[in-house]
């Protein structure tokens, strides 16, 4: 009889190609760090801290976008959700004690989940495409942020700000990096390790097949946006933590860059494919690029050109590697 199991021959190739996909981003990142150290021999713990601090909100935004995109959607309200949490935190925490500020942070995470759930339910029930829903709720949440705080202001207790500042464990392991890893892991691992992750990947990959396998697509979509909302709220808190204030417009920069980070990090916009490590590293990479431009002392007018080129080239390299593998 014929052998239909085909598991034997392709095994090694698959092993390697899977690993390259997994290791590609970290390898690229390490290469970039080494390049940076070459450009700027003084590269030290101070810069590592700068990198982690700068990437903190973007990493959260990228995490939020990743969760939603994996489930087959896209969230163009990420920036506004971040803004709402940011101004809410800054206005509530202004005169709060450290303990109270932690309580407020939890409250804001819950509110973020609620906002995300509203996005998700609207998408699930109305049958309006994700893009339209989140584009418009993006305007709505942006307006809400302006209602909460008309101009930049507010504040937070020093102890709260110090959570992400400095490096308590080791100079080379800044607190911001620890916060980033712990928070994103706390959001992502429960998804990844539970049935929820399965639901998200399945409904993103092939909603029809998922439904026929017994998945309630609407539940899956709502869950994805809800977790995305939590990650956005964490992003808003991170913004408060790193800037000490609330700014109603500060979130706007994160909508597109979160999508860029997710895509550069190997998440397919078609849904169902990708992980969390890639986008987070992509967020670090996107923070490293402007840093290198400063170190190189490049005419800032060329900065934008170079940044655009680099973003394209990174993705191109990824595509080329897959292309060569497929041709094999």
């Amino acid at each position: 009889m014929t052998d239909v199991s085909a598991a034997d021959s392709g095994g090694l190739v698959r092993f390697v190609s899977r690993r390259t996909r997994l290791l590609g981003m970290p390898a690229l990142f390490v290469a970039c760090i080494l390049a940076t150290a070459l450009i700027h021999p003084d590269f030290g713990s101070f810069d590592v801290q700068s990198l982690a601090l700068g990437a903190l909100p973007l990493a959260m935004a990228a995490a939020a976008q990743t969760i939603v995109v994996i489930s087959g959607g896209i969230d163009l309200s990420v920036g506004s959700l971040i803004a709402v949490s940011n101004v809410l935190a800054a206005s509530l925490m202004q005169h709060a004690s450290f303990g109270a500020s932690l309580g407020i942070a939890v409250l804001i995470l819950i509110l973020g989940a609620a906002q995300g759930a509203i996005n998700g339910l609207t998408v699930a029930i109305s049958r309006i495409p994700d893009v339209v829903v989140t584009l418009t709720t993006g305007f709505i949440w942006g307006g809400v942020a302006l209602l909460i705080l008309e101009r930049p202001g507010g504040g937070a207790p020093a102890a709260f700000l110090n959570i992400a500042a400095g490096a308590d464990v080791s100079a080379w392991l800044p607190n911001a990096l620890i916060v980033m890893i712990v928070v994103i892991a706390a959001i992502w691992l429960p998804i990844k390790l539970s049935r929820i992750g399965l639901l998200l990947y399945a409904s993103g990959s092939d909603p029809v097949a998922a439904f026929r396998s017994g998945v309630d697509i609407r539940v899956a979509r709502t869950l994805a946006y809800t977790f995305g909302g939590i990650a956005c709220a964490a992003g808003g808190l991170a913004l408060t933590m790193t800037t000490g204030i609330g700014a109603p417009l500060a979130g706007t920069y994160y909508t597109l860059s979160s999508v860029a980070a997710a895509v550069i990090g190997g998440v397919s916009l078609a849904g169902g494919r990708g992980g969390m490590v890639g986008p987070v590293i992509a967020a670090l990479l996107l923070t490293l690029i402007p840093m290198d431009l400063v170190f190189l002392g490049i005419d800032p007018n060329y900065g934008q050109v170079i940044q655009g080129t680099l973003i394209v080239v990174v993705v191109m390299i990824g595509g080329f590697v897959t292309f060569m593998q497929e041709r094999k």
């Binding site: 700027h40 003084d42 590269f43 101070f46 810069d47 801290q49 700068s50 601090l53 700068g54 909100p57 302006l146 008309e150 101009r151 930049p152 202001g153 504040g155 700000l161 500042a165 913004l239 790193t242 800037t243 000490g244 204030i245 700014a247 109603p248 417009l249 500060a250 979130g251 706007t252 920069y253 923070t287 402007p290 840093m291 431009l293 400063v294 170190f295 002392g297 005419d299 800032p300 007018n301 900065g303 934008q304």
Partner: protein, 318 residues
Amino acid sequence: AAGKYIVGVSNTLIGNGWREEMICSIKAEAEASGLVSKVIVANRNGGPSEQIADIRNLISAGANAIIINPSDREALNPIIKQAADKGIVVVAVDQAVSAPEAYVLTNDQVDYAKLGAKWLFDKLGGKGEVVEMRGIDGVPADADRHQGFDEVLKNYPNIHVTSIFTGWALNKTAQATKDLLASGKQIDGVWTSGIDSTVVDAYQTAGKPFVPVVGADNNGFIGQLINLKDKGLTGAAVSNPPAVGGAGLGLALDVLQKKEHPHVVKITPTVWDNTSEAGMDELKKAYNQKLDPFYSVAINVPPYTHYTMEQILACKGP
């Protein structure tokens, strides 16, 4: 010139003519002073978080002085303190920061609005319908100007105001102005937060009689004030020189050479109207037919800046 200082610049709004000119003035001043070996500009669209990152990178790149156009009053304080602790001179230009370590050299935005509004309300004889064309909601400079506008408005109970946000965008302003003109709403005067010539253009294409307009010292608007005076355009330009950038560097270099300086310097704006002799003279003197319409005509801020027109137009640093 064999300068010895490295100068860092942090700017978080790009594609904006005023900011471009500000950066050019910094480069020009660096060139003219002969004291600077390198100007590093960290330039991108962003908020306080991005700006903090940029300042950290400038510190790391070894800047002796950092000129910032701050995106927020408070948010940068911790990093400014860190920079000052390392002996770096930090100058905030255009908008203020509250950090005591920083030198602040700003155009007084509250005054900017006050002067223009006062001129307009007086011109209207203290009564009428005024449109306030603001910038972007949630941005500090816009909030400051609105505050100044409101303070003056309190003294004119018979002036009624409609506020519109233009986003400092040409086409949005054009559409909003045309919509207002088409709506048949009574308009007696327009105060703008900088997108001025577009409003005048909208009146022209709509074929409506001009009403008094207040704008900034943009080259295009100043040209209109001069050339359209015969056609009935009255208006005033309030100065808001982007050369504060270069002035900030001048100040920083003074401090680096151990000259004493007050920490806060406010440049009070001036008003040039086309209804008075003196104003018209100033306008004609300032107008530069060749310059881009959205570049400010005020290229120097004495006594801080030392460069020539050619140098700022070349926009080249050491």
